[in-house]
Amino acid sequence: MNRHKNPNRKRTADKKGFRLTQSIQYSDHALKSMFTAADALLPIDETRRAGTCRLLQHEFRSRTVRPLQDNRLLFVSLLRYTDRHLPCLHLLGCIAMLLMLLTMSLYFPTPQDAGVMVFASMTLPCFLVFFSVFEFRQICFAGMGELSKTCFFHIRQLAALSMIFSGILNLIAVSAAIILVGRQWKIRLLHLGLYVLVPFLFMQCVCFGCMLLEKIRRHTWLCAAFLLPAAVFCLAAFQRPALYTESALFFWAAALFAGIVIFAGEMKLLFAKLDKGEILCTDWN
């Protein structure tokens, strides 16, 4: 353990009677530099190097005999013991959104009410984004993140699982809303799909953008303070009738594409930050 010990070597009396006493003192650092310099001259065969690394890993695995559950059972037991509060709330949120649209369809049944219903179907799904964000936040930033990053089932996988689950739930709810409103008020599903998905994606980008910022991420209320003006802006921006003409469809398609690109970029950044680990533990000492 004592890395600071300097080796003192004495050579005495060669065969011819010539006495040579030499004291060589090298520090660990000097020795290391000498080895590094000598190693630098050796040609390295990358194929053999990769092969040796594979062998080492195989050897490592064979020595770490551990009871390990197969993937299917692992997934089942994870679902069994994981916290289901927020996913259940999310599901309830989706049902409530669809019920609200159904109730509104009773109050606004005429073709003249189509505008109101389109606006409602654009607004209500935006609230589902909050559930996705809270689920993600709970897995990564509620304190369990640091611990789960040391487990076999990694924080990255947990976060991805949560995103997939909430994404599927949101997509089902949004699709149901599009079909419900589109069928009843005879609006082309492709048009309505664009109208609904653009503000939904805009809110998703704002929410996950907030997750990238340290201060906002840590405080729920600060997060809400950012999201509320974003939601108001979104609602105000989409109230112009000119936006709902045939010629404006290109704008919607471009906005959807931009939203997808921004969201994918945010996800990539967020997952890279999760890998780096600093956002899981902000106290640095």
């Binding site: 004592n2 890395r3 695995r61 559950q69 994870l78 640091e146 040391t150 640095w284 000492n285």
Partner: protein, 292 residues
């Protein structure tokens, strides 16, 4: 048994260097990681657990970078963070089952192991109580239980005994000590006596650097001849406190018994005293290493 090798490890957060140039090899046994608040102990542990990515340097486990080992390395690992989050609505039993699922342990194995560990940490009676009703000490105990779930060969414990009462502390010291026989245990603590009792080797950190890595006797030898005991009038205490490093202070009527760590004789009547680990720790922290 596994070997962890740290080479020129550095970690910088924005403009703060939390860990600088640490090179050390860790094999089986209990390692006590000592240092002041902010010395970089937790950052070092987090890097060893793969939570934080080092800014530079490498961490090898049996010659392979831990990032490359990924899940294989995490299977070997048990970690108790200083403050760990938990779902407050979970019962102790469900929390441990959830952690067992994250550690990919088979259901049957997890069942028996959890019962065993609840017994070990003396929480069998509270197994169905919600974590939000637990005291700080009980949370610490459940944290230790989750760290031991997968029977880890590399165990990292960040302040494991903080918040435990003296009886529990002694019990955990013995558990940790017995665990260290055939695995690598790295224990970070402020409580020098914990390290004194159970650690085979001591790592001493200051300002992100490793001041000492070796056994206790080596650390004690650094402060040899620098620990003094003396009785001084109460009026002199303040002056001595300003000039010297006081290890201990005890009132004896009009006089005060001081334990002083100093290279020179601090008081005419001072007598040399036997060096304890606490003295050596204070000596190294005060008189060696760098200041940011």
């Amino acid at each position: 048994m596994h070997r962890l090798e740290l080479t020129d490890l550095n970690k910088t957060f924005r403009n703060k260097t939390a860990v600088r140039d640490i090179s050390v090899s860790l094999e089986h046994g209990v390692y006590g990681l000592l240092g002041e608040n902010g010395a970089g102990k937790t950052t070092l542990m987090r890097m060893l657990c793969g939570i934080l990515e080092p800014t530079s340097g490498t961490i090898l486990c049996d010659g392979i970078p831990i990032r490359q080992l990924g899940g294989d390395y995490r299977m070997l690992l048990g970690y108790l963070p200083q403050d760990f989050g938990y779902y407050k609505e979970f019962t102790a039993l469900r929390f441990l089952h959830y952690m067992a699922a994250l550690k990919a342990l088979p259901e049957e194995y997890a069942h028996s192991r959890i019962e065993e560990l609840l017994e070990l940490v003396d929480l069998t009676a509270e197994r169905k109580h919600r974590l939000k009703t637990f005291s700080g000490g009980m949370i610490r105990r459940i944290g230790i239980a989750q760290a031991l779930l997968n029977d880890p060969e590399i165990l990292m414990l960040d302040e494991p005994t903080s918040g435990l009462d003296p009886g529990e502390r002694v019990r955990f010291r013995n558990i940790i000590s017995s665990l260290g026989k055939n695995r690598l245990v790295l224990l970070s603590t402020h409580i020098v006596s914990d390290v004194e009792y159970i650690a085979d080797r001591i790592l001493l950190m200051k300002d992100g650097s490793l001041l000492h890595a070796g056994d206790e006797s080596l650390l004690l030898s650094k402060a040899a001849g620098c620990v003094w005991k003396c009785l001084v009038p109460e009026a002199q205490v303040e002056l001595l406190e300003r000039q010297r490093l006081i290890g201990n202070l005890r009132h004896h009527g009009p006089e005060v018994e001081l334990r002083i760590i100093s290279a020179e004789k601090p008081w005419p009547e001072a007598e040399p005293a036997e060096v304890t680990l606490e003295d050596a720790y204070l000596y190294c922290i005060k008189y060696t290493g760098r200041r940011r």
